[in-house]
Structure formats: C-alpha cells, structure tokens
Amino acid sequence: MMEILHYEFMRNAIAAALLASLACGIIGSYVVVKKIGFISGGIAHSAFGGIGLGYFLGINPLVGLIPFSLLAAAGIGLLSKKAKVAEDTSIGTFWAAGMALGVLFIGLTPGYAPDLFSYLFGNILTVPRSDLLLILGLDIGIVATVLLLYKEFLALSFDEEYAEVSGLKTTLLYLLLLCLIALTVVILVRVAGIVMVVALLTIPAAIARRYTRTLSGMMGLATVLCALFTLGGLWISWLTDVPSGASIILLASAVFLAVHGKAFFGGGELAGRG
C-alpha cells in the first residue's frame, strides 16, 4: 500500500484531498444548516463558464473559474435577495446560462479542449503542483474568514432576522458566505468535478450534523468525513481503475444512505436530538 506514495501524482492527490476536505467540512456545514445546497449546485454549474473562459484565453481554467464563480455567487445572491425573483428561478437561470457560456467559449476556442472531462467530473489524480498551491491559498483565505466571522455567520445561519436586529449587515454577510462557497467549489472541482461538487458540500456535513451539538464540532467531523471519503474513493479508484470522481461520490453517497437508512428503518428520529 505504501508504494503508491512513490508516485508524485499520488502524493499530490492525497495532499489535494486533505486540503479540499478542510474547506469542504467548514463551508459544507454552512451549506447544510442554511439549506443552500441547491444554490451551491447553481454556483458550481454556472462556474463552468469560467472553465470555458480559461480555455478560450489559454490560461489555467482554474484561474478562469475563480472570478466566474464569484460573479455567479454574487449574481444569484443579489437577484434572489433584491430583485423579487424566486430564489430557485434565479438559481436555475444562472445554472443554465453559466454552462451555456462555457460551451460557447469552448466552441470558440480553436482545436480540442484537453482535460475538459476532468473539470466536469473531477480527476484528483491529475492535480499539478501549481494547483495545490492555489488550493492551499484558497483554504487559508476561507479558514481565516470563518475564524474572524464565526459568531456572525452562526447568527446569520440560525436566525437571520435577529442578526439583522443586532445590526449585522445580513445581505452582505450572506453574499460573503456565497462567495466562500464559490471558492470552495473552485477547490473541489479537481476532486469531484463541477457536476458532482454539491455532493461533497452536503454529504459529509449532513452526516456530521447527526453526531454533533455545535456548529464548530460539525465542521470538524465533516472535515474528517470528507477526508475519509476522498482518500477512500481515491484508494478504490486505484484498486479498481475506475474514475476517482465517481468512486469518491459513490462512497460518500453509500455511507450517507447507510447512516440515514438505518435511522429510517430503525425508527430513530433524524432531527431534534436533546
């Protein structure tokens, strides 16, 4: 088993999995308690436009992804908060429009788009060193922001009206949270791909919530679970030669169904533990 560490791509893959798990556990917890999984999926899919833009401009698609996903986050947030458009409508619009832009950019780019599949469905085995540094930088930014604004984000997630009465700029905080989700999507694209990142943003945190009493505890457990899923999926992918994105997501989904299925069939309650 240790011989896999001799390969640089494997060491990079493990580092990427661990770094991604940190952002995934922390931000995924907000996604789950605030019930914004669909928004996160919308941000991820519309960010495909950024990948296309990266190809079109001939730069690292991950770099094109950052501004694009941030714009998508701000757009979805502002449209649903300010413009009196139903939230799911604005999400759906951005979701499809972003993907259409991506397809358009790739169509306009002469020749063939290498690695396109790995951005859509993830391929943790092809993460280059430069992307690791980018992921590390984003991780530091996300962790620092959450450390500084922990009590504000907690109030926003638990009781938005009271947060507003307490003088917090809730719309601004909400947009900031969506931007953190966008950056987490950038980190996770290499692991699970644009199409499947939403699973990593929700499954580890949703399982963690069942076993924790505080948000910080939930974040810690979700990070550990996310690391187990990504490393476990990577291991399965190595053994069976299946695509890593799929094995990671399927492993996470199987555990999720096992945990919740057990509660369902055992008659245990899912919510409201004392």
Binding site: K151, D159, E161, A163, S166, G167, L270, A271
Partner: protein
Amino acid sequence: MSEPLVEIRDATVVIGRSRVLDGVNLRVDAGDFLGIIGPNGGGKTTLLRVILGLQRLASGTVRVFGLPPSEVRRRVGYVPQHLVFDRSFPITVREVALMGRLLHKGLFSRYSGSDRRIADEALATVGLSRLAGRSVGGLSGGELQRLLIARALVSEPELLLLDEPTASVDPEMKTSIYDLLDRLKQEMTIILVTHDTGTISRHVSRIACLNCTMVSHDSGKVNRQDVEHMYPYPVDIVVHGVPQRNLKSH
C-alpha cells in the same frame, strides 16, 4: 422623566398594496409596561418592526430614545414571536443566549468570559440554567420562548419588545412568563404585543389597541366602543386591577 422613550407620530406603513399602519401615534415613557392588543393582521408586529427600525415608514416619524431607531438598537431588546429554525441545527442553548451580545461586540471579535457570564445569568433569570449545554432542538415551546427572552436580556436592554410571547405555550408556562415580566418591569420599559386580551390587563400599566389605527388607554382601561371598533368579532372586555372579571361577554 419628560423625554419619551418611544415617540411615533402619524406613522403610516404600506406593505405591497395594503396600508398596514395608518397614521399611528404612540408615546411610551420610561418605566411603562405597555400592552398592545389587536386582531391578527392588525399591524402589531409591524409596529414593533417600526420601533426596531426594520420597517420603513411611508410617512410619519419614529424616535426611540430621541433618535432614529437604527441608531439605538444596542439599547433595545427584541423577543420575536417565534423562531423559525431547523430543530436539528447544531447549536446549544447557551450559544443562542450569547447572540444577545452581538450588538456589543465588534466584527471579528470573539465572545469573552464576561459575555458568557452575562448569558449564564440571563439563563438563570428565565430558569434555563440546567439546559445551558443542551441542543436547542430539544427544547419545548415554553422553554424556547424563555430562551428568546433570555437572549434579549443578554443584550442588557433599557427597552424590551415582546411579540406574542405566550402565543404558543401552555397555560402554566404562560403564567410563569407573565411572572417573569412582572419582575423585569422593575428594571426596564416593556412593550408587549399580544392578542391575549384576557390575561394581559392584570400585568400592564397601559393598553393600546391596534388595528391599522391606534387607540391608546392611558388609564389602562379599554372601553367597549373602542374594542368593537378594533375587532370585527365579539370580544371579552376586562377591567384592570380586577383580575379576569368580565364586564360583559358575548
């Protein structure tokens, strides 16, 4: 004290196409315990939101402590009617109480030991010390209501606004919440909104009726005409100072 704590003049609020408040005047002095009654949809919650500075006025003025409401939020405690939250939210009773300190803390800072002490004292005041470390999801309706009051107390308010604090609790808990308010009224000015016309008159110093327009009773007495004007349906009228004796019931 001559300066009123809350002064609302000719306040009109329009939400969508409906006029929720229409030329409302209200004056609350320090030490008052004002009960605001009125039918559902009569604008009671909106009035509280006006005092909190959460609701914009179409016309009229509102001053709290002589200033615009958004500038004095630190001095006002708010107990919402009910908390819409996910019962599986991972948060403890103490953490919810601590949210009352948000107003006193800057961005980026963390809750300190003294914040925690203040939160624990407030939990003791409402009788929830025993549950401080528990998940909020496991609380009963009455316990949750008392937690919301504790959270408002943690902000150390001079003016306490309560929106239907007894709407979703059983009768026994209702009494204990009113007992708690009786103690709190020694220390702060209270505005309580309710449609619970029966019990409230024993506890408050003044009553106002609100159904888009407002009628205020400085003596703490409600007369029939006013109530019939406010309510489209028959109600019991109670006399203040004489607990629960109905003048006339329908």
